[in-house]
């Protein structure tokens, strides 16, 4: 079978559907025939009705005619008139209804003539009665002309009626046979359809449910964790075969996973899992788990290595620590002795500091008297400066007066020169006078000599004055230098005063510092005693340290062993 499940089911249901469709078609046709037969019968009944109506109308014509004849009253003509109006309509209906039958049409042609004759006769009788009496009219009727006509009509209508009834009988028989056929067709068709549906149902159920049942059993075993089952994947090409093969692949994949898990459980982490698809949650997780495990194991191994090395180092360090602790215990013991010596030294220092403090106090007093002396010196320098200023003023006045003397000398010199000129002029005049002027020439010569002496005297005075001025200048210079020296002295005195002041302050501070040093030395002494006590405690602690270091060494050795064991465990994993 190359059909898949859908095709199979479609085929089964399709054949059943075909059977039922045939049944339906047959039923429809039978029903249509029954309806047609019914219509024909109704038609035939209508024709029969119209034939009866025709007879009735003609009878009405006859009745109306007779009534009038008897009574002569127009009221009795009413059935006559009414039948006349309907007669033609009824006849036309009949002709139309029997248009498919040649024989009936022929009868209708004959009937038409008879009816007309009959109607004409009736009108003749009625018209006659209108003008004649009852007896005359009765006489006319007794001729029997009207009765003959009427009998022919009755006979013709009877023939038409019997033919129609024959048709009716044929129709009835035919419809009954059709109905019978339809009944049988429906019953048989339904039975055949039901049988087909049952057969196909059983077939399809067997074809689909069987394999699904066996797959369910396999799935249940897989659910229970048993992966040793095999799915018998036959060569079916439909969905069931596909399902079975897929199931088989799933089982194989699970088996691969299980194998990898077994490998990992055995410590071999080299297994590789290829995920079935991108959405393979289990495969991806498994692959990631293996990767992570591998990485973690590798890190664990590295960690174990590091731990081992560190533990070895710790062992070495603790061994060193133990020996160092022993050494430091010895050192502490020595230090304790040293501290005791330092304490004694501190005692001596304290005594010395007290002596220094007293000396510093004395020095401070001496520096105070030094400061007073510098103040006196400053005052003395000030007085010297004032006197120097007075000297400088005197020198300036002296210089001005020398200048005045110079001016006076210049005047005298000028006078001498003029006297000289006068003497020369006098001599010239004397020379002009000749012998008489000789005595005057002598006088002029004397005057000239005197002028010359005056000039020489003024020259001497000028020389002396110049020397005086030089000396005065030197004195002024000296005075100025003296002033400057005094100013310098004053400045130096001030500097010295400041220095001595600073010195005094420093000495005072030194005295205070010395006092503080003495106090500090005392405190130091107390501190040193505390240090000695503390050193004793440290000594005990250091002894305890030695014991602890030994214990630590043992512990480190244990850690080292532990690291080695851990390394061995991790190395069992193959990465």
């Amino acid at each position: 079978m190359k059909w898949n499940v859908g095709t199979k089911m479609a085929a089964g249901f399709g054949s059943v559907l075909v059977v039922f469709t045939l049944v339906g078609v047959v039923s429809y046709r039978s029903t249509t025939q029954l309806i047609e037969a019914s219509d024909l019968r109704k038609h035939t009944y209508d024709v029969l009705g119209n034939i009866t109506e025709m007879l009735t109308l003609l009878t009405d014509v006859q009745v109306g005619q007779r009534g009038y004849v008897i009574t002569g009253d127009d009221n009795y003509l009413e059935p006559y008139r009414s039948a006349l109006t309907k007669l033609d309509q009824t006849f036309q209906d009949l002709r139309r209804q029997t248009a498919d039958s040649v024989r009936q049409q022929g009868r209708l042609d004959a009937l038409d003539a008879l009816i007309k004759t009959r109607v004409a006769y009736s009108r003749e009788v009625i018209d006659f009665r209108r003008t004649n009496s009852l007896e005359a009219a009765a006489q006319m009727i007794k001729s029997g002309k009207g009765e003959t006509n009427m009998d022919e009509i009755r006979k013709l209508l009877g023939e038409m009626q019997s033919e129609e009834e024959g048709l009716l009988k044929i129709y009835t028989e035919q419809s009954a046979s059709d109905a019978r056929n339809a009944k049988w067709t429906i019953v048989l068709g339904t039975l055949v359809g039901l049988l087909l549906a049952a057969i196909f149902g059983v077939l399809i159920t067997r074809n689909i449910a069987g394999p699904l049942q066996s797959l369910t059993t396999v799935a249940e075993r897989i659910t229970a964790g048993d992966l040793s089952v095999n799915v018998t994947a036959d060569a079916r090409s439909d969905e069931i075969g596909l399902f079975a093969r897929t199931f088989d692949r799933m089982t194989q994949s699970l088996r691969t996973m299980a194998g990898a898990a077994e490998q990992i459980a055995a410590g071999d982490l080299r297994a590789t899992i290829t995920p079935q698809s991108a959405n393979d949650v289990l495969g991806n997780a498994f692959a990631r788990m293996i990767d992570n495990l591998r990485e973690q194991t590798r890190q664990l191994l590295e960690g174990a290595n590091v731990l081992g090395a560190a533990a070895t180092e710790i062992v070495a360090s603790t061994t060193q620590l133990a020996s160092t602790a022993t050494e430091s215990a010895t050192a502490v013991s020595e230090t304790t002795t040293t501290v005791e010596e330092v304490r004694q030294t501190a005692q001596v220092t304290s005594q010395k500091a007290k002596n220094v403090s007293e000396s510093a106090k004395k020095t401070a007093q001496i520096s105070g008297s030094g400061r007073k002396s510098t103040e006196d010196v400053a005052m003395g320098m000030n007085r010297i400066r004032e006197q120097m200023e007075a000297i400088a003023e005197s020198m300036v006045r002296l210089s001005e007066q020398s200048q005045t003397i110079g001016q006076i000398i210049a005047t005298v010199e000028d006078l001498a020169a003029q006297s000289n000129l006068l003497a020369v002029n006098a001599a010239i005049e004397a020379a002009k006078a000749g012998e008489h002027g000789k005595g005057f020439g002598v006088v002029a010569q004397e005057v000239k000599n005197l002028a010359e002496q005056s000039r020489q005297a003024t020259n001497q005075v000028r020389t002396i004055l110049s020397e005086i001025q030089k000396a005065t200048g030197a004195a002024v210079m000296a005075t100025e230098q003296g002033s400057r020296a005094v100013e310098g002295g004053e400045r130096q005195t001030a500097t010295a005063g400041e220095s001595i002041q600073a010195l005094s302050d420093s000495v005072t501070e030194a005295a205070q510092a010395a006092t503080q040093i003495a106090a500090s030395s005392q405190q130091q002494l107390v501190g040193m005693e505390q240090v000695a006590v503390a050193m004793e405690n440290i000594k005990q602690a250091s002894n305890q340290n030695v014991a602890s270091a030994k214990q630590l060494e043992n512990a480190a050795r244990n850690v080292d062993d532990l690291g080695k064991r851990l390394k061995q465990i991790v190395e069992r994993y193959k990465v």
Binding site: A417, L421, A427, I428, K432, K448
Partner: protein, 158 residues
């Protein structure tokens, strides 16, 4: 030299005024001298020969001042004090000779004058009477006053 008057007064002492100008000693005959006078307020005059230093006011008279060294074309020998003038009175003119120092009036024997001076030759030697043994240069004022240059100067001054 014309010695006609000199021959008459060979025994006569020559009365001269001795003065110094730029470390040189000069002398003029006192009979030509009006007076000696301090040099004050010398006013230089333009458009005059180089030996005219300027003019001075002597008691209301305007007198030109001559520098005898420039007049004689002698070399300048350092600075001078320039504070005396010797007023000379000629027949028709008056001028001042510049002097540093007036030494005084003295008499010199006419014979002691030596006629020539080696440094002065030609025309310049014409203005000298002679030179004494003490290197005293005695000027011949009569010739100086007669010199046309003075007259030209006179015209310019006038």
């Amino acid at each position: 030299m014309a010695h006609s008057p000199a021959a008459e007064i060979t025994e006569i002492q020559l009365e001269v005024l001795e003065f110094r100008l730029a470390q040189e000693s000069y002398a003029v005959e006192s009979r030509y001298i009006q007076e000696v006078y301090p040099l004050r307020d010398l006013t230089p005059v333009p458009c005059t020969p180089a030996f005219v230093l300027g003019i001075v006011n002597v008691r209301g008279r305007i007198v030109p001042v001559l520098d005898i060294k420039k007049f004689l074309d002698l070399h300048e020998k350092g600075l001078t004090d320039l504070h005396r003038i010797i007023l000379i009175r000629g027949e028709d003119c008056e001028f001042g000779l510049l002097a540093d120092v007036i030494v005084g009036v003295r008499s010199i024997p006419f014979e002691s004058l030596q006629p020539s001076l080696p440094t002065l030759t030609g025309i310049r030697s014409d203005y000298l009477k002679g030179v004494t043994a003490e290197r005293l240069v005695v000027l011949d004022l009569a010739r100086i006053l007669a010199d046309p240059k003075i007259i030209v100067n006179d015209e310019v001054i006038a």
